[in-house]
Subunit: 217 residues, 2 copies
């Protein structure tokens, strides 16, 4: 394990792999993703994955040591694709007019989760169960976001808009926790009459207030 944290991918025997093999590896990862979305995590078997792409189970072992290894590779990919989110946090949130930036970030965050829900779910489960590799994957994704938000909080605190005895790291963590978890509630809230639009607006307002201290937008 921990063998797929970087490019380029290598086969399990250590040699580098060509185009054809890369495509097969890709197909295996995509199939894993599909099965993870279609069924529950505990129903995804190694043989199902290879069946899905019409390959022999032996093929799987050319690229991954076991299912966890493939899940970890997916998790790391998902982390790598979070760069766009970080970029949306580069500009400062200071003036009330910066609210639009918060909205853009939150929209992107929700979309990111919608796209990667099944993988993120498993990554977080494994991380919370104590698996070191998945812990690292989760941290790699979250720390940059947390750092960026924490810095914003700090700046706004320095400007006197946020109470100085709040912990900036903890505040940033709270914001991220809220965003992350709420994406799981969306379906249920919708069913109970709180539509996606109301949720997004309220969420943006809350996040902007927590980070900047501006309550009246």
């Amino acid at each position: 394990m921990a063998s797929h944290t970087n490019d380029p991918p290598v086969a399990t025997d250590g040699r580098e792999i060509g185009e054809r093999a890369k495509a097969t590896r890709r197909k295996l990862l995509d199939a894993t993703r599909v099965l993870l979305t279609r069924h529950g995590f505990s129903d995804v078997r190694l043989v199902d994955i290879t069946r899905e792409i019409g390959a022999s189970p032996a093929t799987f072992y050319q690229y991954f040591t076991d299912i966890d290894d493939a899940l970890l590779a997916l998790s790391n990919e998902v982390t790598e694709n979070s760069g766009a989110l970080i970029e949306l946090l580069e500009a400062p949130w200071a003036e009330p007019a910066d609210y639009e930036r918060a909205v853009a970030f939150i929209d992107a965050y929700i979309a990111y989760w919608a796209d990667n829900r099944a993988v993120l779910r498993v990554r977080n489960l494994k991380a919370e169960e104590g698996n070191a590799d998945f812990r690292r994957a989760r941290s790699a994704a979250q720390l940059p976001l947390m750092q960026a938000i924490s810095t914003k909080v700090e700046n706004n605190m320095a400007a006197g808009r946020i109470s100085a005895d709040l912990d900036t790291q903890a505040t940033a963590a709270a914001v991220l926790a809220m965003l992350e978890r709420l994406t799981a509630y969306r379906a249920e809230l919708s069913a109970r009459g709180t539509g996606g639009a109301a949720l997004e607006t309220t969420l943006s307002r809350i996040v902007f207030q927590l980070v900047t201290g501006h309550s009246n937008v």
Copy 2:
């Protein structure tokens, strides 16, 4: 499934069970909980559970149809034990001095998660994967809390402390989401220098502000 949502427990063949059987069922549930905490969810096997209490795997089938059935029973138990949390939300949060109530609630919430982490984790996973029984279990636990918080937000909104164009349900959901998710980050935050005390204080302050509109405690 869905057979263990209410007391008293019955055997899988339908008859009511006596004291001895009740104790065995209890032991099976406790063992499941222990294994869930000790290992990852996907490593918990039916035979492990019975091995843990020195019983035959056949015994398991007297009380549960399969592992999911036992997990669901545990989930429902955990829901039933959340009554204390609701009680902590009965008194109003309106005056700045009510902050202590928020702190008490948040402490209780954190403790509740610490005690039931392994079960709640699986419940949420299954719910998010679309399992109807676990969805129901999760809703049964969350809706009362959400309702109670939503009412508080409404009252404070009526008193003019909270912007009237926020959605009260969405705000309540945001608060709960934040609490729920942050419990998973605690270990990591501690490791990075943001101790439990700082986290709890910041969290309490944020929650109190979101619910009541009081920012200066």
